[in-house]
Symmetry: C2
Subunit: 696 residues, 2 copies
């Protein structure tokens, strides 16, 4: 064990405590902001109870699911109990798995709590100007950001300190992933089901405005923002962050004993990332006439700069910290920022691409779709190149340090890219809070100025969301490369135990590898297709329910005083459907992994993971960016350009936005989680694939 | 050299002569069919002259382009002339390159000639029933099919016989590819520009029917069917066929001297594929009330069965022909048929998927698009699995034969899959001929029954096209794997000459390989995006021209007797725009290859080709199938389902079809060619990448 490691365990817990304390402070600050409007309080309570209903239902299913998986994990991992390894390892990994799921659930739950608290306060804040409204939204999001990062650091440090073996961390990470798959994909189906059904019946059929309280789906729509974007996104980034740390630690441990204190370094960087995020969050400000997008982005830059300076200082101070590793991690972070900026170019409505798509809409919806698809494809290029270059540079910088350091460099580039995840989540969770508060301002009749301010905050949320998504997809790409490294070291441990020749790599000319690559590449496409079709089907069910309510509740359509739709019916449909549609997609990816592993063995799995990463990155970037682009093109038209609201261009832009909705909020961001889950399943099952496979 | 080889050269020339003679017979048969309707003759002449104008323009640009490339090829390949290798090799490869371009051009030109001859005759044939109309359309297509296969066999055999070195064949193949890139992508942009512009101004704005002679774009639209689908598709499959044979021969030569007569076997199988296609074409029949889809498919099955039997017989008769190789080639062919059938499942309007998309259209165009995208993604899975399985099986069957035979097995699976390419092209070229004849029947007022028959023939063309496209994409996938093998043997020759260590494969854990994979995967996405945007831009230009004509030519809109639009202006826009929009896309893929090669060296290129193949296959399958699905869903609604013509579902389905048009006819099928071009450029430049690269 490295000498300084106890110090860094201690500092990890201290940093976590600091993060939790700051989160608590921000939570109390948000809570003490005034809310007086009765209508807002009422609607906000409905949103809160809807979100809680979904979370309860989801978690009660997940608890059973997690227990079943924990038993399977216990029986099979890290090696089947009948093979007579240490049973303590099997117990540890099963417990680590459960802790991973529990911490993910806690972070999601608290995020929802504060988001549903902040939305009403931000709405009322908007009546006093942009400054208070912005701060409430941002600080509400920051509570989530701090909790997620705190929980992941706490969990990783605690598990490793107790068991001492980083392989067990893969179990912890798998816990986080399996929950994220449900939270992100399930939440994504929920939110888009409600959004699409509300739009179709409200805006399109009846011509009533967005967030009109007559619409039975309106509460479900607002609930969706919380369960999909806040809880889902939090679980997703918790998962990525844990996976990045776990794979870096697995590799670091396999290197230990040399000149460098690699395990300590991973913790040190994670701690400093958390500290930098706290500083970035604490300094976020906006003037009375300030630009919220600029405020959000500038706190990201502050965090980045602080992280680079602090890690440089730490690298200079602590013995056994290598400047090469610092370089790799800095490259990762900088490339993350660059990916974010290029993504921004494709989705920001002050840049040419959004305008071009808006102008194409004047020729009809087919052109909205075609140009969005085309620019979405092109938008994937900079991020793919960025990931490719950062992996190549990190590898090249660290390779001279010795055997295995090159891949450790790549994993540290991922840790670097995710170091400011606390800040990223704060920005990301800000979005749904102000989106909700815009709805509340409308429903509470807070006046035009408050709605205008809310709109401005909401639009900033959309722009920033595109950037943070580019960031998180990039980080996932690098993480999964290091998971591939982790898989290889796990598979080699199993091969060594079985007395078989070790893997030296995965040669694409080997037929099993190639076989794996092709099938792996098809999985993200099928996975996202299943989610999109799930949203589709579920939205049809909700539309039918809304029609039923409009037809059977007298006075609802006309907006008669005191007539209230049955909001909970729609919430119920969204909840049930989300879980029902998600399970086949999740199962499909896991079953495909098992098939490939048991047919082609570890070589095929190596190829499978590569194919999965590559097509997953491409499709995730394409769908997230195309979706953001269509959304902002619609907003651009609605701001009075290319004919403005009600024009043919507007109708086309609305269709583009509807196509983009499940792209950017359901399928695109869920692919990340799908990739991580598949990678972890592969690493964990490597022993079995080594023992039983047809061609391997 | 193998003893039997002169025999097979002789047989190759004999088979080619037979194919040409049969093509001549079919051509004369088509030509002697009656055409009397004056209006049809007039329109048909316009189409012919438009197609010829495009071909002339295209070929005059291409001739210059080909000469420039030939000079570059001469200077640099197979090794730079200043390095003092045999200058004769450089001369040979440059000449081979030019022969490749010339034969591709000849095949395209004659295909256009016969297609523009057959369309009017098939239209008049329809007045006598489905039997004559079908035969004219099919035999017209068969002329093209026979010529393409004959030219490729002739070219490959002649080049190899003269120079004796299969590496030179890569130059021939590159000639075929570089022309195919122009013909397929340029033709694809041409055809969709005209199609979309004609639909937008005609059907949508004025409400006049398809193929209405008042529309200035109507002739360009019909010309497009010929230049995109006949000439482009012929060049594309000529390219794939040549590439499959060339890479199999490069690998076969590197194996020679052992127990097996591999080079002879490649020729023997190619000859028997041609013979089987001739038999399949000769036996194609339809009853007076027959089903044209069944007729087309059953001749495919006849050809498949004949090929399997003939090759089995040859394998039994000739010494040094291995049953293992026969197995690999049969697996390839059978998997090709299976890919075709699964593709059919997703695009045939008697199967559930087309119906589902049609039903989704009732909820609005966003649902048409979303469900089409989702099923398009899913439709890629069976083909990806099929290619993966056939590669794995072919490899496993042939690996016991010795070092290098496994990859030869994969290349023979590709040869097997493409063996019936003569039949495939006949079916494929049938489509645009009957599509044209449908238009002519409309313009010539041939009566409802003739239009109904033409419609039925056209619809069969669409269904069969989906199958043949699945087939050609699958074959391209396998071919490119063997091109990867060819690249490795070329790179190793260069490495050996430079005294550097040889490549043993491409390990995905190597950073340069991974770097290449990520960038390679982004290229097909960007390439297809550029083509889609090209169609978009060019269609806007043509729409503007149509509006100008409607506004400035008195009586045109109203259909006044004797007023004729300026058809040639639209043809001109389509021609100029197609070439202008295509060049940046082609250059982008070649420049990316050069960048990756000079940055990462041969390892990075290996990864680049893999990424390119994988994402290229995925996107090509997705776009071709989604496009076919939307097209047939629209036809399904127009047949009176889900509300029928004029309903909201119909409007949505039309939008889906417009989105799908550039997917299936421009971007999707061009990706094949892009992949082949990039693979050949890589193989040809391997010497340079070995000599000059930063990280390699």
């Amino acid at each position: 064990m490295e000498q300084q490691l106890p110090l860094f365990y201690g500092l990890s817990f201290l940093a976590t405590a600091l993060a939790f304390a700051f989160a608590a402070y921000l939570y109390l600050w948000v809570k003490k902001q005034r809310t007086e409007n009765a209508r807002i309080l009422e609607v906000s309570a409905l949103i809160k109870s809807g979100a809680n209903a979904f979370m309860r239902r989801e978690y009660s299913i997940l608890a059973k699911f997690a227990l079943v998986i924990a038993v399977i994990v216990f029986v099979l991992l890290p090696s089947p109990i009948w093979q007579g390894g240490s049973i303590l390892d099997n117990v540890s990994i099963a417990i680590a798995y459960l802790i991973g799921t529990a911490l993910s659930a806690v972070a999601g739950k608290i995020g929802i709590l504060v988001a549903t608290l902040a939305n009403s306060r931000a709405a009322e804040g908007a009546t006093h100007g942009i400054k208070p409204a912005f701060l409430i939204g941002f600080r509400g999001g920051a509570v989530m950001g701090l909790l997620v990062v705190g929980c992941s650091l706490l969990g990783v440090a605690a598990v490793l300190m107790v068991v001492g073996d980083a392989t067990i961390l893969l179990g912890f990470s798998f816990g986080a992933s399996s929950l994220a798959l449900f939270a992100k994909a399930g939440g994504g189906i929920f939110t888009k089901t409600a959004d699409i059904a509300a739009d179709l019946t409200g805006k399109v059929e009846l011509g009533i405005p967005e967030d009109d309280p007559r619409n039975p789906a309106v509460i479900a729509d607002n609930v969706g923002d919380n369960v999909g974007d806040v809880a889902g996104m939090g679980a997703d980034l918790f998962d990525s962050n844990v996976a990045a740390m776990a794979s870096a630690l697995v590799i670091a441990q396999s290197l230990s004993g040399g000149l460098y204190n690699n395990v300590s370094m991973v913790f040190c960087y994670a701690i400093l990332g958390l500290v930098a995020s706290i500083i970035g969050i604490a300094t976020a400000r906006i003037g009375q006439h300030g630009n919220p997008t600029r405020a959000l982005n500038s706190s990201t830059y502050v965090t980045t700069a602080v992280f680079l300076v602090l890690t440089a200082a730490a690298t200079a101070v602590f013995p056994g910290f290598s400047w090469r590793i610092w370089g790799a991690s800095s490259v990762g972070l900088l490339v993350g920022v660059i990916i974010g900026l290029t993504t921004d170019y494709f989705t920001d409505d002050t840049k040419p691409i959004v305008k071009k798509v808006a102008e194409a809409s004047a020729s009809g919806p087919a052109f909205t779709v075609l140009s969005g698809v085309a620019y979405g494809f092109i938008s994937a290029l900079p991020a793919m190149v960025g990931i490719a270059v950062s992996a190549l540079v990190a590898y090249t910088i660290c390779a001279p340090m010795g055997e295995g350091y090159a891949i450790f460099g790549i994993s540290m580039a991922a840790v670097g890219m995710l170091s400011i995840v606390g800040m990223i989540i704060s920005n990301d969770a800000y979005g749904p809070i102000v989106d909700n508060s815009r709805g509340l301002a409308e429903m509470g009749n807070l006046g035009e100025e408050a709605i205008r301010i809310s709109d401005e905050l909401d639009s900033a949320g959309n722009t920033v969301k595109a950037v943070t998504k580019g960031f998180s997809i990039g980080a996932a790409g690098l993480t999964v490369i290091s998971l591939l490294g982790a898989f290889m070291s796990e598979a080699n441990a199993a091969l060594a135990a079985a007395g078989k020749p070790l893997l030296e790599g995965f040669d694409i000319m080997a037929p099993t590898v190639f076989f794996g690559v092709l099938i792996g590449a098809a999985i993200p496409a099928v996975f996202s297709a299943m989610l999109i079709l799930g949203v589709d089907k579920n939205a049809q069910r909700m539309v039918a329910e809304i029609h039923r309510q409009f037809n059977s509740i007298p006075g609802l359509k006309e907006g008669k005083e005191g007539v209230v739709p049955e909001y909970d019916k729609c919430i119920d449909i969204a909840t049930t459907g989300a879980l029902r549609e998600l399970i086949p997609a999740g199962l499909m990816s896991i079953v495909a992994t098992l098939l490939v592993g048991f047919i082609g063995g570890p070589q095929a799995i190596g190829g499978f993971l590569l194919g999965n990463i590559v097509s997953g990155l491409l499709l995730a970037l394409f769908m997230s960016n195309a979706g953001g682009l269509w959304d902002n093109s619609k907003k651009y038209v609605e701001a009075g350009n290319v004919g403005g609201k009600g024009s043919n261009a507007h109708k086309s832009a609305v269709i583009g936005d509807t196509v983009g909705d499940p792209f950017k909020d359901t399928a695109g961001p869920s692919i990340n989680t799908q990739i991580t889950v598949v990678s972890l399943v592969s690493s964990l099952l490597s022993t079995l694939f080594v023992a039983f496979s047809i061609f391997g």
